[in-house]
Amino acid sequence: MPFELLIALRYLREGRAQTWLILVGVGVGVAVIIFLSGLIGGLQKSLVARTLGSQAHVVVRPREELPRLLPTHGGAIVESLMERPAQRVRSIVQWQHRLADIERIDGVTTAAPSISGAAMAVRGDGANAVTVRGIEPGSYGRIVNLDSLIVRGRLDLDGFKAVIGTELAHELGLDVGNRFRLRVGTEQEGGTSGVYTVSGIFDIGNKDLNARWVFVSLRVAQSMFGLEGGASTIEVKGERIYDAELIAQQINGSTGLVADSWMKSNAQLLTGLRSQNSSSVMIQVFVILAVALGIASVLAVSVVQKSREIGILRATGTRRAQILRIFLIQGSIVGLLGSAVGIVLGVGLNVFFSRIIQNPDGSATFPVMFDSVLYLRSAALAIGVGLVAAIIPARRAARMDPARIIRSG
């Protein structure tokens, strides 16, 4: 064992109460960082997962229809009132090619066609406005894991089968195997309607969507909205969720289609997450500062207490640099052991919050993130803080005049 490490360890062992106090101090600091980061990280992850559990990272749709100017005839001025046309459900032109283009973009893992349009779900006297979503279960399943959200029945969209949300099922009194009618447009305007059998009921954790969304097969939706062979939207999933906006911009740039990222559609959520992050960082900075001051003050006291021994060490041939290293090592060890205490404490608190405090359905009230990178980073931070905090006491120790110390007995 190197000389400096031997002395540093022995000093820490000797100053038992002092060492324990500072270890607990550093430990509590690291625990606060880990607990807070775990809690906030878990909360954010769960919020984002809940948001992205029901939607794609990027949704691509055709450009909006714009009003067209009436042609002028022989120079006659035609007075016209320009009105924005109502948006119909339209197909993306050559969507298969666009989908292939999108899948080639860096960071995109998969893309799936879908059709989204308004309809009425009718059963008996009950009628609810719904959004019909035509999907291919295979390709759409790679974007939103609909299968895992089914609470009754199963995800089966063969023929005229549909999967509806818990809220709609409740409102229309539907259950698996029951039938209901989906009507698009009015009969006077040439609308279509058909009877569908409920094959599954989903719960995506959002009451509004549970009441509104009705999933049918893409082929059925195509005929329902008169888009034979078409797709009104392409849903995209990327490798990293926070790259979604970048991917949306690239899709828009390369295909000319409108691409909305989840970040844009959930701007409020994102702002909330960012402010949460900022406050968490502020808390961490102050905790680190307190830890650093704690280590520095304990080591400063230790230097004073050990001044006689430092004098002996210097008199018996210990170099200034060695004395400096003894105290720097002490700071680092305090950081290392303190972070170990802190990790155990922090993870313990996280486990307590996630296991003990639970919702009636058994899910965690405070979803917590367990992240080994965070633990390693916290340990490295604590060691670094310990080292930096030890610099001033260590330099003071190294500068001590052995003659004066020995003279004073």
Binding site: R308, L313, R314, A315, G317, T318, R319, A403, I406
Partner: protein, 235 residues
């Protein structure tokens, strides 16, 4: 080099002043030559500058003026690291208040100068420490913590520590001052034995005239000056 090989230490006109506004002249032009293997007592009343002189000789302090040569080298020319190395390898210390590290065992305390010099523990240094502890009669106390030893035993450990680097010179500041007469006698006899056996030079600061009388040479300081320098037959 003008020194004879036997000259270990030479001080020429060494002075030491303390303070900036009110200057205290602690040492006033000390000339002293110590040869290898000498057994020298440094005596004088309190405040005569004995400890200051010892610190300067021990390279713990620097003179205000004058020249100090240790083993033929002008100490003023050495930088901090070289001074520490010269002190660590060339000079052993025995202090009045034992000055052992309480968190370490007797063996570890003896090994300290070797550890600092070599950077890490090895078998040879442990054997050397045990050998010395045996010589001071503490072989069975090697693993005792310093705080578990009596005053006399602690001073014997300090003596073993001062010799572990096999230095040509050991400085002892009142080595028996804090011990009862029996322990004091025992420690003094050990210094003498080491001196005779290893030809290690000793400079011993003492107030005790009887101990001084048992040294080969007595240098008496008064008011920072050498008042007398007497060579006498060993007892």
């Amino acid at each position: 080099m003008t020194d004879t090989p036997a000259t270990l230490l030479r001080l020429s006109g060494v002075t030491k002043d303390y303070g900036s506004r009110v200057i205290t002249h602690v040492l006033r032009g000390i000339d002293l030559e110590v040869t290898a293997g000498e057994f020298l007592a440094l005596t004088g009343p309190s405040g005569s500058g004995k400890t200051t002189l010892l610190n300067i000789i021990g390279l713990l302090d620097r003179p205000t003026a004058g020249r100090l040569e240790f083993r033929g080298a002008d100490v003023a020319q050495l930088d901090e690291t070289e001074t520490t190395a010269a002190r660590g390898r060339g000079i052993g210390f025995v202090f009045q208040f034992h000055h052992l590290l309480p968190a370490f065992s007797a063996r570890e305390n003896v090994m300290l100068p070797l550890l600092a010099d070599r950077g890490r523990r090895d078998r040879e240094m442990q054997e050397r420490a045990d050998e010395l502890l045996d010589e001071v009669g503490l072989a069975d106390r090697a693993s005792f913590r310093a705080t578990d030893l009596s005053g006399g035993q602690q001073q014997r450990v300090a003596l073993a520590r001062s010799l572990v680097m096999r230095p040509p010179l050991v400085l002892a500041d009142e080595p028996t001052g804090n011990l009862d007469s029996e322990s004091g006698n025992q420690v003094f006899q050990m210094l003498r034995d080491f001196n005779e056996r290893h030809r290690t030079a000793f400079i011993i600061v003492t107030h005790d005239d009887r101990l001084a009388a048992r040294c080969d040479r007595v240098v008496h300081l008064v008011d920072g000056q050498v008042e007398s320098d007497t060579r006498q037959g060993a007892t």
